[in-house]
Amino acid sequence: MVKKRQNVSIAAYIAILPMALTVLLAYLGTMLWTARVSVSSSRTFPASDFVGASQYVRLFNNERWLLSLQNVAVYGVLFIALCLIIGFLLAVFIDQKVMAEGALRTVFLYPYAMSFVATGLIWQWILNPELGIQEVLHKLGWAGAKFDWIVDQDMAIYTIVIATVWQASGLVMALMLSGLRGVDEEIWKAARIDGIPRWRVYGSIVLPMLGPSVSTAFVLLFVMVVKVFDAVVAMTQGGPGTASEVPAKFIMDYLFGRANIGLASAASIVLLLTVLAIVAPLYFVRNRRAAMGA
């Protein structure tokens, strides 16, 4: 009977037309196409037959795939947590009206600008026990020093974390900085009157106010986690053995080198569903809270 909502301008609908087209043609279309391919026997080219869930069966019998999922879970938790923490800290420290702010910001951001093909190699060298830090420590006379994670089955994935955090935390810093700068100065003044130490202000007042920036950063990092590929290829090639294999590399291997897009598609779909299973509850909770609170 009553309209539930006030008129939304036609312009708003026109404005989101590009998004609608993109979503329908590019994203929804691709997702459906991928789902279709994943139930076919496609190799180099998409086939139109139907083989049921056999690609999925093969996928879940594949040790490397399972290992990839496991690796990416460990990697993801560490990577996201560290990037958020370091990015936030960098933003906070840079926000202290320091000298040479521009230079520092560039220093923290530059890794983001560089192709991982090259910087990954540098990391590989730096972390290599025969060339890099361990070797330097040995030469400095600390013979017992050991830092050989990159060649260690159990630790290799952490080297990927180090290098990718190095690469991405600058971006998180920029994101946080843009949020920080938006905080009204009056809030700062109120906190100073209240005698709240700066770090507490950041922790208890500013950080909660940065909610939207944090959630942007989180999603961004999450996407990076799911797509992590370059770093692994450049640094460890998934090794030693399969110790640092990740899903994106698995997908890429099957997509190109191994010419089996059926399996690659199945893996993509599984990956997507996994992400959905993780994100949907978060999204739901946030919406609920938004509806109840703000």
Binding site: W33, V98, L121, I122
Partner: protein, 319 residues
């Protein structure tokens, strides 16, 4: 843009108060009592942290730089951190203008203008669309937009490579494959999820009252966006520009597939130089080429800071 800069200045001057260190930046000739000694332990701590962090961040760059000015014989020695014994700029020259990338041996400079031609429109278009989407989602919420956005965000998690094949077909069907507009559209498509999210969340943090006031003033969708929201978006636009310029500038895969051979970006050349599988590798040239390629985004990072404006919405609402 000039207007924004001006705003930056007045902001800095007007809001100096909460930051103790800023006490001395207004230039007043008369001797002024110092607010505090500049080098408090807290201050030293701040610089200490920043310097340590900066050293960590710079370590790989140092290795890249020294590698890029060493001859290959020295690099083969495996003394990663040592300064070059025979300093040479030859690799840089080679990277820029004579390294081979297949038949052509013109270094990476060849694709520079192609890259520019791709980056500029792609960045502008993707940010424009992302900003409009975010704005619509935050303030207008047209029916169904939330659902579209959810799918868009899901799409962000599909590996780009998986999407290439179907997109090639789509673009080919509208005759945009292998063309400049084609690659621009592709970058816009791939940039859309994150750009939309970025702006949507940014706008969510702005006081809703401003939007309401503009509605009362009779502002329509575009007016409010262009005249009110965009000027308030400078910090997030900076972030968006950083992300898009970096992403698009560094992309070679999409450029390779969609741009067509006349528009190949310089990263395709860079990739050809550094990413050989079975050919011999000139690490010094690789490093020089990598650094050279990243100069444009780096310059952008350096100059973008002034648009990280402080307190962009201050004075807007009371309470």
């Amino acid at each position: 843009m000039g207007q924004v800069v001006k705003l930056d200045k007045t902001e800095a001057a007007a809001t100096a108060a909460p930051h103790p260190a800023a006490a001395n930046d207004a230039s007043i000739p008369a001797p002024r009592p110092r607010r505090k000694p500049s080098w408090t332990p807290a201050r030293i701590g701040v610089y200490g942290f920043l310097i340590v962090a900066a050293l960590f961040f710079l370590l790989p760059l140092y290795v890249m730089l020294v590698t890029s000015v060493k001859p290959m014989e020295e690099i083969r020695l495996g003394t990663l951190f040592a300064l070059p014994r025979h300093f040479t700029l030859e690799p840089w020259a080679q990277a820029w203008s004579s390294a081979c990338t297949g038949l052509e041996c013109n270094g990476i400079k060849g694709g520079f203008w192609n890259s520019v031609a791709i980056v500029v429109p792609s960045t502008i278009l993707s940010i424009a669309i992302g900003a409009v989407n975010g704005y619509a989602l935050s303030f207008w919420r047209p029916r169904g937009a939330g659902f579209l956005f959810a799918i868009l965000m899901m799409g962000a998690f599909i590996p780009v490579q998986v999407m290439i094949y179907p997109l090639v077909r789509v673009l080919a069907s509208v005759n945009l494959f292998s063309s400049l507009p084609g690659i621009i559209i592709i970058h816009t498509i791939f940039g859309m999820p994150v750009m939309t999210l970025l702006f949507r969340n940014y706008y969510a943090a702005l006081p809703l009252e401003l939007f309401k006031a503009a509605r009362i003033d009779g502002g329509g969708f575009w007016r409010i966006f262009l005249q009110l929201m965009l000027p308030m978006s400078t910090p997030v636009i900076v972030v968006a520009v950083i992300m898009q310029v970096t992403g698009i500038w560094n992309d070679f895969l999409l450029g390779l597939v969609f741009a067509g051979s006349e528009h190949l970006p310089m990263t395709v050349q860079l990739n050809n130089i550094i990413n050989t599988t079975t050919g011999e590798r000139l690490y010094n040239v690789n490093m020089a080429a990598t650094i050279l390629t990243s100069v444009v985004p780096l310059a952008l990072y350096f100059i973008s800071g002034r648009w990280f404006v402080r307190g962009i919405a201050s004075g807007a609402v009371k309470g």
